[in-house]
């Protein structure tokens, strides 16, 4: 089919008609006649019609085959070409005018004198010939190219639409960057996520969108990637506009090169990996937890071992202390016996010096006895041997004061006892504790100053503190911890006799009650001992 718009088309119509006649085996004279008839009608159609067409074909009617040319137009151009029609009738076998509501057609027929059969395949090969027919003119070429171009533009537009639709629906963020670093394309996903889009690929342009702690690394890696023109893939957190949440993404940009191996643009992707990252973190946490747990088990085992060791050594120590004090009493007892028998039977034979020596010997033996008895009582302080009950501390203190009555009177001491609380404890041991403290206060008093001892309580949140305070010689505060150590003494024996076990016993008793004891003092002013005991257990 040929469109009949202008002169160039007329030439084309003539040429195509000639060619078909030639292909169908008409003589040169018939070729010219048919082509002229077709040209004549076509010329009229171009002149009077609007967007006319020429269709060339082969038709068969009752076993006779015809070459058919149909020139059609929307307007009834046949009215204006009677002359051309009558001319054409002389040149071809038949000229017919068909009018329909849509189109007016002038049909020219020329019977074929084609020898042999004209098959469908043959007709198709003719059609193919025209399809592949080389351009016959610059115009035809231009026209064809123009049509191709329009077609391509249409396809491109469709493809671009496809691309945009594709990139908009993919669950990734995409962007394209030109060689100057300007971002010229972003998909919908990216725009929705960020609320806006960075304008360029510089790290600074991304700063408002990235999690600050990740920015330093991002900036370094992005700058490096652009500088060396190599792809970058990294994991950073980016802020989601809608939730304000920073989510982990894989950020990658890839340089695209043209045929000349030059970078023409970059494309970038951001893929949300927050879920994955969380699982990763959970797994890592889990692993760390497992490790900590293992470590804990190990520590526990070691602790268990140490406790067993400690218990054993504690037990051995107690056994030792007990046996030692027991076995130490044996020779001591004999020493007493012999010195007593010596004094009793041979006392008259000794002079004063000899008698003094014997007395000193007995005094030394007595100190030894005291030491052993204190050590024994210290070694016997064990939790499992204690019975705990509700105890009125005021009762305890009353008993202690009664026990120390002789010394208190002797020293003219004043003892003030506050209203004390009820505690959970062992009567005997608490009595021992306060007896030791008050005895100490009575013992370490200033020469010529009657001891004044106050026992007050200070309630705490879940504990009670009992303070025993005196007006005695006190001690240097730097020794406030040391004085609780076993055998620790701050004075020489000739000034203040003692074994250095008394306060150790107090400390042990406080600890057996899940409490503690501390001391504070100013030399020559006072000494204060604070015993802290847990609050009454509601049994």
């Amino acid at each position: 089919m040929v469109n009949l718009d202008n002169e160039m088309d007329l030439i084309l119509a003539h040429k195509r008609a000639m060619k078909l006649c030639e292909l169908t085996g008409f003589s040169l004279l018939t070729q010219t006649s048919v082509a002229t008839a077709i040209s004549e009608i076509a010329r009229c159609a171009i002149e009077f019609g609007k967007s006319s067409t020429l269709t060339l074909g082969i038709d068969s009617i009752a076993n006779r085959k015809f070459l058919v040319a149909v020139i059609g137009d929307k307007t009834d151009f046949s009215q204006r070409c009677f002359e051309a029609c009558s001319y054409a009738r002389r040149l071809v076998s038949d000229v017919d005018i068909k009018r329909t509501s849509r189109e007016t057609q002038i049909v020219l027929r020329q019977q074929l004198s084609f020898s042999g059969t004209l098959t469908e395949a043959k007709v198709d090969s003719f059609a193919d010939y025209f399809k592949n027919e080389p351009p016959i003119s610059a115009y035809d070429e231009l026209r064809r190219k123009n049509l191709m171009l329009q077609d391509l533009a249409e396809k491109l537009r469709a493809s671009e639409e496809d691309y945009r639709m594709l990139t908009d629906t993919l669950p990734v963020m995409m962007f394209s960057v030109d060689i100057r670093g300007q971002i010229y394309y972003t998909n919908k996903w990216l725009q929705d996520y960020f609320g806006a889009a960075p304008k360029e690929t510089s790290a600074a342009a991304w700063q408002p969108y990235i999690f600050q702690p990740d920015y330093h690394l991002f900036s370094k890696e992005l700058t490096g990637s652009i500088l060396h023109q190599v792809p970058l893939t990294g994991q950073y957190r980016f802020k989601e506009k809608s939730s304000g949440e920073y989510r982990w993404h894989v950020f990658s940009i890839i340089p695209l090169k043209n045929e000349k191996e030059k970078i023409s643009q970059w494309i970038g992707f951001l893929v949300d990996i927050n879920g994955q990252k969380q699982i990763e973190q959970a797994l890592k946490d889990n692993r760390e937890l497992k490790e900590i747990q293992d470590q804990l088990y190990q520590n526990q085992e070691e602790l268990q071992k140490k406790v067993i060791e400690l218990n054993r050594s504690n037990y051995e120590l107690e056994q030792f202390a007990h046996l030692a004090s027991h076995d130490l009493q044996e020779p001591l007892r004999k020493l007493f016996f012999y010195s007593d028998v010596l004094k009793k039977r041979y006392g008259l034979l000794l002079d004063t010096t000899g008698m003094n020596m014997l007395n000193n010997m007995t005094a030394a033996a007595n100190r030894m006895k005291e030491l052993i008895s204190d050590l024994l009582s210290y070694s016997q302080l064990q939790k499992q041997n204690l019975r705990f009950e509700h105890v009125e501390l005021n009762d305890i203190l009353r008993d202690v004061v009664k026990d120390l009555d002789l010394t208190i009177k002797e020293k003219n001491a004043v003892i003030e006892i506050d209203n004390l609380p009820k505690v959970t404890g062992n009567v005997l041991r608490l009595r021992q504790l306060f007896n030791n403290l008050i005895s100490n206060s009575l013992k370490y008093c200033k020469n010529g100053v009657p001891p004044h001892i106050s026992i007050v309580s200070r309630p705490g949140t879940d504990q009670n503190t009992i303070i025993v305070r005196d007006n005695g010689i006190g001690f240097d505060d730097q020794y406030s911890e040391k004085i609780f150590g076993l055998f620790e003494r701050l004075h020489t024996r000739d000034k203040f006799p003692g074994t250095g076990i008394g306060l150790s016993i107090c400390k042990k008793i406080a600890e057996l009650h899940n409490g503690r004891i501390t001391a504070h003092s100013v030399v020559n002013e006072y000494a204060a001992f604070e015993v802290t005991l847990p609050e009454l257990e509601k049994a």
Binding site: H326, E330, R333, F336, D340
Partner: protein
Amino acid sequence: MDDDLEDHMMLDEYFKEVGISDKVTFLKNGQLALQYLEGIEDSSELPKLMVLDLNMPVITGSQVLLQIKQTPRLRNIPVIIFSTSENENEKRKCLSFGALEYLVKPITWEEGDRIARRFASFAE
């Protein structure tokens, strides 16, 4: 009965003072003590009092005590435990086995004298 021969001598000094030295037999271990008791055929000849030290090799004082109290023929002999130190556990145990008293060995002459007189009271 005591494994410490020096203690025998010391106690004997107290016994001399109260005049019962000749009525006391000293034995130095539990085995000998049990043998001694077995050797007495006439029940009326059995001791009027047994005084046992606790800490002894081979058979301890409390074992001897138990043996005596489980033997019908010996059951009625009064037994006093005479130990170097006060030990609540031992004391409770011995008293539950049937000991009459638990005494700690004396330190002063006066204590020793008092104890000797207590022992002598059984000899009458």
